[in-house]
């Protein structure tokens, strides 16, 4: 049987226009912008403290509207990826 996905309260978001634009969009939907993801330009790490830290469903709420914002090219709620040490 397939293992259920575990959804976290972290999002990866692609926004053009620089960190200030990303900060504005994060604030608009209640997220905190934790900064650029590694060396990937225009990709930001957002965190939402009012979303359950781990859930088996992707819970909807006002924060979900970020996916429809025209300034957001792409957004993805992060799921836990089970990883094992070898």
């Amino acid at each position: 049987s397939e293992v259920a996905q575990l959804y976290t309260n972290h999002w990866a978001v692609r926004i053009a226009g620089g960190p200030q634009q990303a900060d504005q969009i994060a604030a608009k939907y209640g997220y905190r912008n934790l900064g650029q993801i590694g060396s990937l330009d225009d990709h930001y790490h957002f965190h939402h403290s009012r979303v359950v830290r781990r859930a088996v469903y992707s819970l909807k709420g006002p924060h979900s509207f970020i996916h429809m914002d025209p300034k957001v090219d792409w957004a993805q709620q992060q799921v836990v990826k089970p990883r094992v040490k070898r």
């Binding site: 397939e2 976290t8 836990v80 070898r86």
Partner: protein, 814 residues
């Protein structure tokens, strides 16, 4: 078998004699053909200035074997979002993995502690990222940390090795890999080394792990001391090479560093193999820092050897490489790697050619095999995509199937080499099929790309299934990676041009004898043509470039003098031009095009070059063209000029900030010159300056009192910090290899003591001090005279293990 090495190096590290996979001086065992690590050391390569990091659960940066080579610039804590990758200590020792891997790469040598790393002078860092929820963001961040500083990323983890998981990098992590190989190491490409997997016992196949089967990772498997397949080994076609790792109970293990400043020879699995190869690549990079990420893969393919590794699937591909699904191209050879690296010339650019079959949807009938083929041209019609000589080959499939584990997939190259992309997986009952899953093989390396490729899919049910539900191959594509030229012979065309092309090499340009001076001589413009003019043989219109003396014909070559410049000689014929061509400059006084110095492409006087011929660089200090820039300058390939290195560099390569030696007061860290911080200071990451250590530290990695490497005068090291006096429960003593004293822990149950062993002066509650030993406050009801005599005659109370063994009762009873 290898000969025992009479010139063996000896180190004083206590586990050195157990490191059989590095040296061969143990007379009680036969010596195996080994990885030739010591031979690489004897050639002077120990990993100096190469930066390796371990993506894992953290590393114990204060470990005596790691502290010397620990590099905080190569470290980060993604889980805690700070710069300290120290693992989280818990009673179950869950986070020992990264420290164990790190020691294998860069444990310090000859420090009387534990082991010797493969690259024992390399910089070692740790990226703590497995001790928390791992997400696509966490992985992408980890793979993208300081890509211009860190050379090698080593990872020994992945999706579950349970034989039923098919998982790989998410979209961000895929981008991070791509960014790494394109931009990392200032364009040479980050090197990602990956452990192939531990799921052998579950019948797992590493093609179902998208990390180890990525073309961007170097996938490493393991073999036992005797060259057997270890029980944990996962086979697949993307494995590139192999190292020794732990085997069966009667075979020797590997030793490495462990948390709590310890060493271990515990079971390692495949995890230790990736850092061993990371260490060997570090030696190769020390030999040649300009190797690209693909050069490193070519080096491994060329130098790894099957030696005594046992597998029933060794085959020789059409390019002559021996390869297996268990071990890739075989056991790594460190000496061969460094030797090849020193003379290596970068392989031609990677081309990518994707081809599709004509027919798409096909049913996969139970118990039968489905064959689908592609006649590939290698994209010869597109020069930018043309692949003639193969490197990686990737097959992307969209397969719908009721039981994924029943599928076996093979790919057969035009040369007839068969590579198994997927073996049956008994535990995989998923009905998800493969949704655009990419299978990768290195088994066709060096073969030619053009011809017919066949994909073979076999469905053999391992348990009862509804025979009416068929699998379906909906789509597949073949992506060929490689080069349009022979990667090892392209220099004869590119850099040593044939005489037919008449393009001399830079050396030839600088060394060839003076060119003919025919047009340099100021001959009078007289002779046959003048006579023709004199006798008036031509009376038509002259060319507009002809001067006031007219011409003897209509063309520009018939002029008797020129308006602007004359070009050529009497022998070869002269012509008038408005501008002098490349390699010449216009001498206004004589209206002649004169030849520049042979090394110049353009000049304003014979030796005043403004641009240089191919392969030479303009030295702006004296306007000359040279093939090697002077110290402090580097050859800029775009401007074809010698440009100044960064202020802190003494010498640099290709870029101003890619330093190879530093000016005074700076030291080389990777390819960056950082200030040489004096004792009592450390290099501050954010400020890029030397900042003071805590007053208790002599040397340190950060400002905190727990970040000392060595203690200041008057201080002793106690656990993670430096203290003026040992706290109760510790006694002061010497420490091997350290300039200061250490506080050692007293014997168990002592509250205070005066030295090592049985020297307790105070005991914990519930214990009594008897003969300077703390003995539990309990008496034995069966400690009669005979029993106590036995305890006494065997001197049990002197042994730590038996100290609580009715000793108090017997001692009280005299």
């Amino acid at each position: 078998y290898a000969q025992s090495d009479p010139n063996i190096i000896h180190f004083n590290d206590p586990k050195w004699s157990n490191m059989w996979y590095i040296h061969c001086n143990d007379k009680s065992h036969q010596c195996r053909s080994e990885m030739n690590i010591m031979a690489a050391w004897q050639r002077g390569y120990t990993g100096k200035n190469v930066v390796v990091t371990i993506l894992d659960d953290g590393i114990e940066r204060n470990h005596p074997d790691l502290a010397q080579n620990y590099d905080h610039l190569a470290s980060y804590d993604v889980n805690g979002n700070d710069h300290d990758p120290t693992p989280r200590y818990d009673s179950r020792s869950e986070n020992v993995h990264g420290t164990r891997c790190a020691g294998e790469v860069a444990a310090a040598a000859n420090n009387s502690h534990c082991i010797v790393g493969i690259a024992y002078n390399a910089h070692i860092g740790g990226i703590r990222m497995l001790d928390g929820d791992v997400t696509d963001i966490v992985e992408a961040k980890s793979l993208g940390i300081r890509p211009d500083y860190i050379h090698i990323y080593s990872a020994s983890w992945g999706p579950k090795d349970d034989g039923k998981t098919v998982d790989g990098p998410g979209p961000l992590t895929k981008q991070a890999f791509e960014q790494g190989i394109k931009k990392g190491r200032r364009g040479l490409g980050s090197i990602f080394v990956w452990a192939s997997g531990n799921g052998g016992r579950q019948g797992d196949h590493c093609s179902c792990d998208g990390y180890t089967s990525s073309i961007y990772t170097i996938s490493i498997s393991s073999t036992t001391e005797n060259g057997n397949k270890p029980w944990y080994l996962e086979a697949c076609s993307s494995i590139m090479a192999t190292t020794y790792s732990s085997g069966e109970f009667n075979e020797r293990k590997l030793v490495t560093t462990d948390v709590w400043q310890r060493c271990t020879d515990g079971h390692t699995g495949t995890s230790v193999s990736a850092p061993i190869v990371a260490g060997i690549i570090a030696l190769a990079l020390e030999a040649n820092l300009l190797l690209t990420w693909r050069d490193v893969q070519h080096l491994l393919v060329k130098t790894s050897r099957p030696v005594h590794l046992k597998a029933d699937d060794w085959k020789t591909n059409a390019a002559g490489y021996r390869v297996s699904h268990l071990y890739g191209f075989g056991l790594v050879d460190a000496e061969a790697m460094v030797l090849e690296a020193t003379k290596w010339r970068t392989v031609p650019p990677q081309h990518i050619c994707t081809q599709r079959p004509e027919r798409r949807t096909r049913h996969i009938h139970v118990g039968q095999s489905l064959n689908s083929s592609i006649t590939a041209s290698g994209c010869s019609e597109e020069p930018e995509q043309h692949v003639d000589y193969l490197e990686h080959v990737v097959v992307k499939v969209l397969i719908v199937h009721p039981r994924r584990g029943d599928l076996e997939i093979n790919l057969i190259s035009p040369s007839g080499t068969r590579s198994q992309l997927l073996a049956k997986r008994l535990f995989d009952s998923s009905n998800e099929g493969f949704r655009n899953w990419e299978f990768m093989t290195v088994h066709f390396w060096g073969e030619r790309a053009a011809g017919t490729w066949s994909l073979e899919i076999i469905d053999s049910p391992s348990r009862l299934r509804n025979p009416e539900v068929l699998g379906n191959l909906k789509e597949w594509t073949l992506t060929l990676y490689g080069t349009s030229q022979n990667p090892y012979q392209h220099f004869s065309v590119q850099h040593v041009p044939s005489r037919m092309l008449e393009i001399p090499t830079p050396e030839e340009i600088l060394e060839e004898p003076e060119l003919q001076k025919e047009e340099e001589e100021d001959e009078e413009y007289s002779g046959e043509r003048f006579l023709k003019k004199k006798f008036g043989l031509y009376e038509g219109q002259c060319h507009s470039e002809c001067g006031d003396q007219g011409c003897d014909g209509p063309d520009v070559a018939h002029c008797l003098n020129c308006v602007h410049f004359s070009l050529g000689s009497l022998k070869s014929g002269r012509t008038c031009v408005s501008h002098c061509p490349l390699g010449h400059y216009g001498d206004i006084a004589s209206h002649r095009c004169r030849r520049c110095h042979k090394s110049c492409e353009r000049c304003v006087g014979r030796s005043a070059c403004v641009s240089c011929k191919r392969g030479l660089y303009l030295n702006t200090l004296n306007s000359s063209c040279i093939n090697t820039c002077p110290p402090g300058y580097f050859a800029d390939e775009n401007q074809k000029q010698c440009l100044k290195c960064h202020d802190t560099c003494m010498t640099c390569l290709r870029f101003a900030d890619r330093c190879t030696a530093c000016r005074e007061a700076y030291s080389l860290a990777g390819m960056t010159c950082v200030p040489e911080c004096t004792n009592g200071t450390f290099f501050h990451l954010e400020d890029m300056t030397c900042s003071p250590c805590h007053s208790s530290c002599r040397t340190c990695t950060g400002p905190g009192k727990e970040e000392c490497i060595q203690c200041a005068e008057g201080y002793l090291q106690q656990e993670w910090r430096c203290v003026q006096d040992c706290t109760p429960g510790y006694f002061s003593g010497e420490a091997a290899g350290l300039p200061h004293k250490m506080c050692h822990r007293c014997e168990e149950n002592c509250l205070s003591c005066s030295g090592p062993g049985t020297t307790c002066t105070k005991c914990k509650a519930g214990y009594s001090l008897i003969s300077r030993t703390c003995i539990v406050n309990a008496s034995c009801n069966n400690a009669d005279e005979v029993f106590c005599e036995m305890v006494k005659s065997n001197r049990l109370c002197e042994r730590k293990f038996y100290r609580q063994f009715c000793c108090r009762t017997c001692l009280m009873n005299g």
